[in-house]
C-alpha cells in the first residue's frame, strides 16, 4: 500500500471545494449542444448587463466574470450569451452542499458554488484528506454531472489557494510542511486581502512575490504598509488559524449603521433608512431569497434599543416594498417622538427560499407599479454590479445625504 501523501501528524485538514465555472457549466449540463462553445452567463448579446460567469472556452478570449457584457461581446463575438437561471443554480448548489455535509458537518459555504470543509476529525473514518477530496470530486461528478476543483491543506488560506491552482477539475494537495515553500513564488495578489491598490503599493516597495514579504524587515514593512502587514506575513508563512464555521441557511438578512454623531433630522434618518432597506433588498435578490418581515432597529443616545417589525402580505425582494415598510416603522412605529438616534438597522426576516410556493394570487387592481419596480430593481442591480452601489432609487440630483 502506498503511504498516504499527507502528514498524518498535522492537527488540521481543510478542504476548499470550488465548482468550475459554475453557472456556465450548469448551462452546458442542461443543454449539451453548448459543450465546447464559449458560454457567457449574464448580460445580453446586445451588450447589456454584467457577466456573471464564463465557460473556460470563453475565458480563452479574455472574458471573465464582473466584466461588462459589451466588452465581453467585443472580445468574444461568437459567445453564447445566456440569462442567469438562479433557481436552477440554487437547486444544484443545494445538492452539492448536501453531498459535502455527508462527509462532515463542518461545512462553511462561502457562496453558491464554493465551501470549506474541516475534515480533521474524519481521517480515521474516511481516510487521508487527499482521498476524501478525490471521493468528493467523484461524487459531485456522478450525482450532478459537474466538475469541482479541490484544494487540500492544513488551513483555509492554503486550501483556497490550492483549489485555484489547477482549475478546472483540479485536485491540489499542499502538504502542511510545504505550504510556505509552495506559495513563495506566487505573485503577491494571490494573498487574501491584497487587492489591486495594495498590490501596486507592494510592488513599488519591492514586494512582488508572496515569499518577498518574509524576506523584508517586518519593522520596515509595518512602517510602510501599516500593522495589517503582520497578518499578511503570517499568511505568507502558510499560517492561518481561522476555524471552519459551519453556517446554516440564513434566517435573516440585515444591515445596520452606527452614526459618527447622533442624528435627529427626520429627512436624514429617512434617507439612511431608505438606503439600508435598499441594501437589504439587493442582498436578498442576489441570494435569490424573499422575505415576509421587515424589522427596524433603533438605538438612542442612552443606548436603549427598540425593534419594530411589520409583516408584509406576501414575501418580496422588492426595494420599494422594503423602503416603504422601513419608513412606516421609522416614522410611525418607534413611538418615542423625534429623538435623535445613534444607530439604525433594517433586517429582512421570515425568509422564503427560492422555489418555495409562489402562489399566483391575482390582484384586483393590477400591479403595473410593482412590475415597474421589479424592472427598476433589475437595472439597479446591474448598475450596482458594475459601478458599486452609487445609485439608488429615488436619489435626487443636487442632494447628497452624506453631505450635511
Amino acid at each position: 500500500m502506498t503511504p498516504p501523501p499527507w502528514d498524518c501528524g498535522h492537527p488540521r485538514a481543510v478542504l476548499h471545494v470550488d465548482m468550475d465555472a459554475f453557472y456556465a457549466s450548469v448551462e452546458v449540463l442542461d443543454d449539451p449542444s453548448l459543450r465546447g462553445r464559449p458560454v457567457i452567463v449574464g448580460g445580453t448579446p446586445e451588450g447589456r448587463g454584467v457577466v456573471a460567469a464564463a465557460s473556460y472556452e470563453a475565458r480563452k478570449f479574455g472574458v471573465h466574470s464582473a466584466m461588462g457584457a459589451g466588452r465581453a461581446r467585443q472580445l468574444c463575438p461568437d459567445g453564447v450569451f445566456l440569462r442567469p437561471r438562479m433557481d436552477r443554480y440554487c437547486e444544484l448548489s443545494a445538492a452539492i452542499m448536501a453531498i459535502l455535509r455527508g462527509y462532515t458537518p463542518l461545512v462553511e459555504p462561502l457562496s453558491i458554488d464554493e465551501a470549506f470543509l474541516d475534515v480533521s476529525g474524519c481521517r480515521r473514518l474516511l481516510g487521508a484528506p487527499p482521498v476524501i477530496a478525490a471521493d468528493i470530486k467523484r461524487r459531485i461528478k456522478a450525482e450532478t454531472g459537474l466538475t469541482a476543483s479541490v484544494g487540500v491543506a492544513g488551513n483555509k488560506f492554503l486550501a483556497k489557494l490550492g483549489s485555484d491552482l489547477e482549475k478546472p477539475d483540479g485536485l491540489v494537495v499542499i502538504e502542511p510542511s510545504q505550504g510556505r515553500a509552495r506559495i513563495a513564488e506566487l505573485p503577491i495578489e494571490r494573498l487574501w486581502g491584497v487587492g489591486k491598490v495594495a498590490s501596486v503599493q507592494f510592488r513599488e516597495g519591492g514586494v512582488e512575490r508572496i515569499g518577498d514579504l518574509l524576506c523584508h524587515d517586518p519593522i520596515a514593512l509595518e512602517a510602510r504598509f501599516g500593522p495589517h502587514v503582520h497578518h499578511l506575513r503570517a499568511l505568507a508563512a502558510g499560517l492561518d488559524d481561522r476555524p471552519v464555521v459551519p453556517t446554516h441557511e440564513a434566517k435573516s438578512v440585515g444591515n445596520e449603521i452606527t452614526f459618527a454623531e447622533d442624528i435627529a433630522d427626520a429627512a436624514q434618518l429617512r434617507a439612511i433608512g431608505d438606503e439600508l432597506a435598499d441594501k437589504v433588498a439587493r442582498r436578498l435578490r442576489s441570494d435569490g431569497l424573499r422575505a415576509r418581515t421587515v424589522v427596524l432597529k433603533a438605538r438612542y443616545p442612552d443606548f436603549t434599543t427598540l425593534t419594530r417589525s411589520v409583516t408584509l402580505p406576501a414575501a418580496t425582494d422588492g426595494g420599494v416594498e422594503f423602503r416603504d415598510a422601513a419608513r412606516e416603522l421609522l416614522e410611525h412605529r418607534l413611538g418615542r417622538g423625534r429623538r435623535p438616534l445613534r444607530l439604525l438597522g433594517v433586517t429582512a426576516a421570515n425568509l422564503v427560499q427560492p422555489g418555495d410556493g409562489a402562489p399566483a394570487q391575482g390582484s384586483l387592481f393590477g400591479e403595473p407599479a410593482r412590475e415597474r419596480n421589479q424592472a427598476v430593481d433589475r437595472v439597479l442591480d446591474q448598475v450596482a454590479g458594475r459601478f458599486g452601489p452609487l445609485l439608488r432609487r429615488g436619489a435626487r440630483a443636487g442632494r447628497d445625504p452624506d453631505a450635511d
Binding site: 411589520v310 408584509l312 402580505p313 413611538g335 402562489p359 399566483a360 391575482g362 384586483l364 387592481f365
Partner: protein, 379 residues
Amino acid sequence: MKFEIQQEDLQKALDVIAAVVPSKTTLPILSCVLVEATKESLTLSATNLDISITTSTTKATVKDPGRVAIPAVKFVPFVRSLRPGVVTISQKGDQLTLTSGKSRLTENTMNVNDFPALKKPEEKAALAIPADTLIDMINETAYAVSRDETRPALMGILWEVRAASLTMVATDAHRLARSVRKMEWKVSGDKNLIVDTNGLRQIPRIAAAARDEDSANTEVSIFVGGSQLSFRAGSTVLQVRLLEGPFPDYQAVLPKDNDKHVTVDKADFAQAIRRVAITADRVTSQIKLGIEAGRMELTARGTEGSTAEDEIQVSYQGDPLEIGFNYSYLQDILKNLQAESVVLSLKDSQSAALLKPVHDTGEDMGVLCLLMPLRLAGD
C-alpha cells in the same frame, strides 16, 4: 373621590370599554380606565388613540365627585370576580381603594391629567341607522380588509355616505366585499370616509349595552366630524379614527361581463370546500373548481401526493370552465353571505369572480363579493 355602585352595574360599564385598553403600549397612561364621578353620573372611558369609548351610568351614588385614572390590568378582573353587592370606590392621594363586603383591592393610580383629552363629538346633524343594519353591513365587509400595515387605507372600511344610502367597501386587493343599504336620512353633500376597522368591530358591543339599558334603544346615531367618526348608542359614545386615503377605485374593477352564472347551495358548497381543503397545499391554499352543466367538481392537490375530490350539484348551463381559488378566501365569503344559495358569476379562469347571495324574494340586497382566482399551475 368616592362613590358606591352595584357590582353588576360597574362590571357592565367596564365590559363596554375595557376591550379598547391596549395590552401593550408605549404610553403607560393608555393602560388606564378614566373614571369621572359627578353629582349626576359616573362616566368611564378608555382609549388607544385610534378608538375611544366613553360610557355613563346614573346608577352610582356619588358621595364625593372627582376624576381618577386606574390601571385596568388588575382593577377590571377584580371587579369581574366580585360577588353581587355594593362596591365602594374611594381615592386618597395616589391610592385607590375598592371594597365590596370583605373583599378589598388597593391600587396605585396614575396622574389623571396625563389621560388624553377625549373631544366630545358635536352631537348635531346625527345620522340615525338601525343598529342591526349597521352591524350586518360591518359583518358583510370587515372580513375582507387588508392586514398589510404598509397600505393603511386598505386596513379600513370605505364608507360612501349618500343622500339616501350608505355603502361600505373593504378590500385587500385579492378580494373585495361591498354592502349597500337604502337609508332614510338627510345628508348634505356626499361624503367618502375610510373608517378604522377595529373601531367598527366595537359596535356590536356598544349596541348590545344600549339595548340592555333600554329595549327601545335600537338605533345608533352617527356624527361625522374632523378626523373621526363618532357613534352614540344609549349612553355610550364610540369615537373611531378616520384613515387617510386614497382608497382604490373599486367601481372600476366591478365586473360587467361575467356571463357564466353558477347557482349553488351555500351549505353544500361550504361543506365540499371544507372536505377537499384538507389536502390543499399549505402555502398556496389552492383548490380547483371544475364547472360544467349541472355540476361542480372540487379538487385539491397536496404537496405530498394526496388529492381530495368532491362534486356538488349546481344550476349552470354554459361552457365548461376550470378556475382555482384560495379556499380560505372562499370560506370567508360564504361564512359572511347571509343566504341559502349563492350565485357565482365568472368570466374566465383569470378574471375576478363575483359572488352574490340569492334571496327567495329575488330582491338585491346590495351585497357582493369579488375574488381574484389563483392561477392554476400550467396557466
